[in-house]
């Protein structure tokens, strides 16, 4: 009799744990008057794509799955210092974004020619309208701080992926104007060592720090002024210091409050760009001769907290004139140009386009590197 009891207990507990999440979800759906997703999949011929979508939806929507996931993540962090599949924990709690890590450490593939072709095609299209192109590949944090990733990397060393080196060589060979932030950051790190200078990237975030951003903006401004496409200063800007707290995108993407609390936010000293006369915060000017395209590296400090303190504002500060910008988070490879195609007015009066993209996008850019036509010129526009 005792034998049957434990067998029964094991079998019943097993079945209960299997059916529990489904029953709970079924009850919640009924209470909320939601239609079962099972009905969706049965409403047409179930092809492979439809089935995958359904499976993903029922899994992601399940209350038990959503509730237990943070517990597991917290346990993994507390017990093993592991932050999951998207974050690599480096030295001194520096966090790194896994796709960027993979980009730097894994073998190059055949996507580099696509990136080079798309960039050069964009350059050629702009040239037909008398607009120049300057590209700004932003190094991965892993490329600039390999020594914070692992103690095995030499202090202050820089690490450039073969894909990046190949792309930069192709672009430079084609005569494209590329602002080389790798060289700039290498120099900055060499000069900063061994002093405790501000870092070029945030510790808990995949993006540059205000220092790294400002160096990049100044380098781009210097290049634009040297090219002569940007005229004399039209506005007088100055800065004011603002301190902000950032949990870091690498912590936020976990969406686990306990971990975010445990790690705590990072204090970031920003320089907000304001007009010298009235202290009004910097704003873009659609009529400016410079259009800046890019991704979240443009958004940080500019559209995020504290606002008006990001790359775009600092580029305007260095040029002493406003610029225009178009930002698409994670979409610098293709999406931002597609958005430009939909907004022809953005190219009005432009003499130069600055195109920023993250290094990892060379291989992992959202939607790849498509060739995107420029918008029709205003006056000949479809709409």
């Amino acid at each position: 009799m005792r034998t049957r009891k434990y067998q029964l207990a094991l079998s019943l507990a097993f079945v209960s744990m299997l059916v529990g999440p489904g029953i709970i979800q079924f009850g919640l759906d009924r209470a909320a008057g939601r239609k079962s997703p099972l009905l969706d999949v049965m409403s047409g011929w179930p092809n492979a794509e439809r089935l995958r979508r359904f499976e993903q939806r029922v899994t992601e929507d399940n209350w038990v799955v959503r509730r237990t996931r943070p517990w597991m993540q917290t346990a993994q962090w507390l017990l093993l210092r592991d932050l999951g599949e998207n974050v690599v924990v480096g030295c001194d709690r520096w966090l790194f974004y896994r796709p960027s890590f993979d980009y730097v450490t894994r073998q190059a593939d055949d996507r580099v020619p696509d990136a080079a072709s798309a960039i050069l095609d964009f350059r050629d299209q702009l040239a037909t309208r008398g607009i120049a192109l300057v590209v700004v590949p932003v190094p991965n944090k892993e490329s600039v701080y390999p020594d914070q990733l692992t103690a095995r990397a030499a202090a202050g060393s820089l690490c450039q992926s073969a894909s990046t080196a190949d792309l930069l060589r192709r672009l430079q060979d084609a005569g494209l104007d590329v602002v080389d932030l790798f060289a700039l950051y290498a120099r900055a790190r060499r000069e900063a060592l061994p002093a405790a200078a501000p870092t070029l990237y945030l510790r808990q975030d995949s993006h540059w720090s205000p220092t790294g951003m400002r160096l990049a903006a100044e380098a781009v401004a210097e290049r634009l002024l040297a090219r002569g496409e940007v005229g004399a200063a039209t506005t007088s800007y100055t800065t004011r210091r603002v301190t902000t707290l950032r949990p870091g995108d690498l912590v936020e993407m976990l969406r686990v409050e306990v971990i975010a609390r445990q790690i705590g936010p990072e204090q970031v000293e920003c320089e907000q760009v304001v007009e010298r006369d009235d202290g009004a915060p910097y704003t873009d000017d659609p009529q400016a001769p410079v259009l800046v395209l890019g991704d979240s590296f443009l958004r940080i400090y500019q559209l995020d907290e504290p606002g008006g303190a990001g790359f775009v504002a600092h580029l305007a500060l260095a040029l002493q004139q406003p610029v225009m910008s178009l930002v698409n988070d994670g979409g610098a490879s293709t999406l931002v140009r597609q958005e430009l195609h939909r907004r022809p007015a953005l190219l009005a009066n432009k003499r130069v386009v600055v195109w920023e993209f993250a290094e990892r996008d060379v291989r992992f850019g959202t939607e790849g590197w498509q060739s995107v036509p420029l918008p029709p010129q205003e006056g000949t526009a479809d709409d």
Partner: protein, 480 residues
């Protein structure tokens, strides 16, 4: 559908179990005979197995059905009392020919075309347009199972199936359909007609299933990330290259053994008893010993249906060595259409032949037992490099890292951040402890008690939670 997913565990399996046991309970009360109950239960399992398989791509069910019909019809023809010896032989030839032709087309067509084109390019002949053929999941497993039925009936080892649904159920049976173990018809012929359902078998199946799921989710998936990072690295130092191939050895073992444990466990829940597929292979003391412990269902299948028909060891030592090498070459090719798999098979075939020359003793059999295990482990690691690398060039590059002959670059140091993170080290150590553990999952679930139940249930809860926190990760053997 994959065992380690929410959909399978929380919807498919409970519904299938409920339907199955509802049929078992209701049908006898409605006056159905035991034979009819058994046939209807098999029909239920057949239906749900087609849903399970069709979940990948509904069209592939038709292919499996085709292989099933071909073999069933040929066996029905050869099993006629009036069938002559020649007709019987032709029936087997047609069944084997058609089944292997389908397998060949779906699995090897692209490989063949690509290699023919390489030869054409050498002779400056325009290339042949390469067909991009989608590989139906599990085709190698169910084709071999169908052939085992035809050959076993032909040999008189098994009787023809009682009904088409019984045979189709055997081919499509979802617990072992996608990645084995390769269940021979003779093993389950009796169980398809009558099998025992009791709490003892069900609960041991539950325990084995939980252990298999834990192997997959808690061990194979995390170390698999390390293996991927190593094999796709731009550059590795010697130590990291060895660490990476160890991670792959753990991944493939816990992934495949975990799947097999789950398959056997699920089988028990439905009253079936499949043979175990692994027996502590990394404790083997020679390559011969390794193949007695690794993917046992494949090695015994190849022995009985290929090695022995080729003459086995009955035609002298030289022919034995040749047979061993041929069998392992084809075993390698069975895994996939790639030169790496052929070389992997040849590597094992040559080691087996070498050990056969010494009377099935390894070349290092005078060493102490622990050293013999370590030497075998190193030889097996070498084979895994060939097996895992996408191409032979990549395998050569990896061997270069392992031997320290390949140069370092700026990225060489970086994978260490992933390899030696606390979580990675803990996973690797637990994997090592598990492969060396004296008791394997199959033995452990034999004699359950309250203590084991209280270990297994929390393990299941943790495994489920870990699974919910992981991204989708199919089993490695699905690709074969």
């Amino acid at each position: 559908m994959v065992f380690s997913t929410y959909l399978f565990l929380c919807w498919f399996l409970p519904l299938v179990l409920a339907g199955y046991y509802a049929l078992s309970g209701l049908l006898p009360r409605l006056g159905c005979s035991p034979a009819l109950v058994s046939r209807l239960r098999n029909a239920w399992l057949l239906g749900v197995s087609y849903v399970f398989y069709g979940w990948w791509n509904p069209w592939f069910v038709l292919l499996m059905l085709g292989v099933t019909v071909i073999n069933y019809a040929c066996v029905a023809f050869l099993a006629r009392p009036t069938a002559t010896a020649q007709q019987r032989w032709w029936s087997v030839a047609v069944a084997a020919g058609l089944s292997l032709a389908l397998l060949g087309f779906f699995k090897y067509c692209t490989f063949l075309q690509t290699n023919v084109n390489a030869l054409f390019a050498w002779w400056h002949i325009p290339p042949w347009p390469v067909l991009d053929v989608l590989l139906p999941i599990g085709i190698s497993f169910y084709t071999f199972q169908a052939l085992s039925y035809t050959v076993d009936v032909y040999r008189g080892v098994a009787a023809p199936a009682r009904a088409f649904t019984d045979f189709a159920c055997y081919i499509a049976l979802f617990p072992q359909l996608i990645a084995g173990p390769i269940v021979r018809y003779v093993t389950v012929a009796g169980q398809l007609v009558a099998r025992t359902h009791d709490l003892d078998r069900f609960s041991s199946g539950v325990a084995l299933f939980i252990l298999g799921l834990a192997k997959k989710v808690l061990l194979a998936n995390p170390v698999g990330e390390l293996a991927d990072a190593a094999f796709e690295a731009q550059s590795l130092c010697t130590g990291d290259a060895w660490y990476g191939v160890c991670a792959y050895a753990f991944q493939i073992y816990f992934d495949f053994c975990g799947y097999s444990d789950m398959a056997v466990g699920l089988g028990r829940m439905f009253g079936f008893e499949f043979l175990r597929n692994f027996d502590a292979p990394y404790r083997a003391e020679s390559i011969t010993d390794f193949w007695r412990r690794w993917h046992i269902s494949l090695s015994t299948f190849l022995r009985d249906y290929l090695y022995i028909p080729l003459g086995g060891n009955r035609r002298g030592p030289r022919r034995t060595y040749v047979n061993l090498t041929i069998v392992m070459l084809l075993g390698g090719l069975w895994h996939g259409a790639n030169w790496t798999f052929l070389c992997w098979g040849a590597y094992h075939g040559l080691w087996l032949a070498g050990e056969r020359m010494r009377g099935k003793r390894s070349w290092y059999d005078r060493l102490p037992a622990a050293a013999r295990v370590a030497c075998t482990w190193v030889l097996v690691l070498g084979s895994w490099v060939i097996f895992r690398a996408p191409t032979l060039t990549d395998a050569g590059r990896y061997f270069g890292w392992m031997s320290g002959l390949s140069g370092a670059d700026a990225t060489t140091a970086l994978p260490a951040a992933l390899f030696y993170a606390p979580a990675s080290v803990v996973h690797m150590v637990v994997c090592l402890a598990c492969v060396l553990a004296p008791v394997q999952a199959h033995d452990w679930v034999e004699h359950m008690h309250w203590g084991k139940v209280l270990l297994v249930l929390p393990l299941f809860a943790v495994t489920l939670m870990a699974m919910f926190a992981q991204s989708f990760s199919p089993f490695l053997y699905f690709q074969f």
